[in-house]
């Protein structure tokens, strides 16, 4: 008889996902890919919330995930708007080309 799946396995999976997202944010230069890495880290945090909500039997964790999703949607809308306006002015710009504030 194998043991049932522990909630800590989900936490370890979320830790791995968060680490991949964080290193991707440091490695990649394309602003869009960096934004996707932020989404990866947000999803790792969501997975942690749900795993602990299930483990502790507290529905507040799932409500927190709901709010994280709403904030992530708003963040993506604003962030992609900024990226569109940057790339429209400087086509093909990477994160290294955005060192100065003046467009």
């Amino acid at each position: 008889m194998i043991a049932a799946i522990e909630p800590s396995w989900y936490l370890i999976l979320a830790a791995l996902l968060f680490s991949i997202g964080a290193s991707g944010l440091l490695i990649r230069r394309n602003p869009l890919i960096m934004f996707m890495c932020i989404e990866l880290m947000l999803n790792a945090a969501n997975l942690t919330f749900v795993a602990l909500a299930t483990k502790l039997g507290d529905i507040n964790g799932q409500t927190a995930v709901f709010f994280v999703m709403v904030v992530a949607a708003a963040e993506v809308v604003v962030g992609l708007g900024i990226i569109v306006s940057i790339l429209r002015r400087k086509p093909g710009a990477t994160a290294d080309d955005l060192a100065e504030l003046k467009g």
Partner: protein
């Protein structure tokens, strides 16, 4: 035994989807392929939500993330025409990639060690799925949504209403940021930038 084996199968298949998609996001050259890797990761997370009885969040994950956010990403990629493959071999700062890899490994091992230590040393109140896992006991499949709704519209109703303000502000801000102002089109690029920044304030 059989159910446990199925749970293992679901967990490891979804974990492989999550990690494979995430590695695809940070390694693939083409941004469109990276966005598809992101879709795979998000679906894997949705499967993990279902496995933990968070059915409503799994549905929202598929609809909002995979349905709306990734489509927005793909739309911007296609709109800007950056879907040509980027050269990943260019490395502006020489030591950055090894340092980033070391930091990623260190972060992963640190959090994993913390999880294992906390798991072995703490006895948490409540058994696994004590308060949430009512759905399987009663056979009422709406009870996860019902619990979430009672919590959301009861305890957190003010925060819920504030999210509508957040979304309206985000939409209005994006329109201001990305709109090509008609007055600025007639003038030169400098006037256009000052008009846009002035309007954004």
């Amino acid at each position: 035994m059989d159910t446990t084996f199925l749970e293992y199968l679901v967990f490891f298949a979804a974990a492989a989807m999550v990690l494979g998609g995430a590695i695809g996001v940070i390694t693939l050259k083409n941004p469109v392929h990276a966005a598809l890797g992101l879709v795979m990761t998000l679906f894997g997370i949705a499967v993990q939500f279902v496995a933990q009885e968070a059915h409503f969040l799994a549905a929202v994950q598929v609809i909002v993330y995979a349905g709306a956010i990734v489509v927005l990403f793909l739309f911007v990629i296609m709109l800007l025409g950056v879907d040509n493959a980027m050269d990943l071999s260019i490395e502006p700062i020489k030591v950055q990639r090894p340092l980033a890899a070391i930091m990623g490994l260190g972060l992963a091992s640190l959090i994993t060690a913390a999880v294992i230590k906390a798991d072995s040393s703490t006895v948490l109140p409540g058994a696994v799925g004590d308060g949430i896992d009512v759905a399987t006991e009663t056979g009422d499949h709406d009870s996860n949504i019902k619990q979430l709704a009672e919590n959301l519209y009861g305890d957190h109703v003010f925060a819920f209403q504030l999210t509508s303000v957040l979304l309206v502000v985000a939409v209005a801000g994006t329109v201001v940021l990305t709109r090509k102002w008609p007055k600025a089109d007639a003038e030169d690029a400098d006037a256009s930038s000052s008009t846009t920044s002035g309007a954004a304030k």
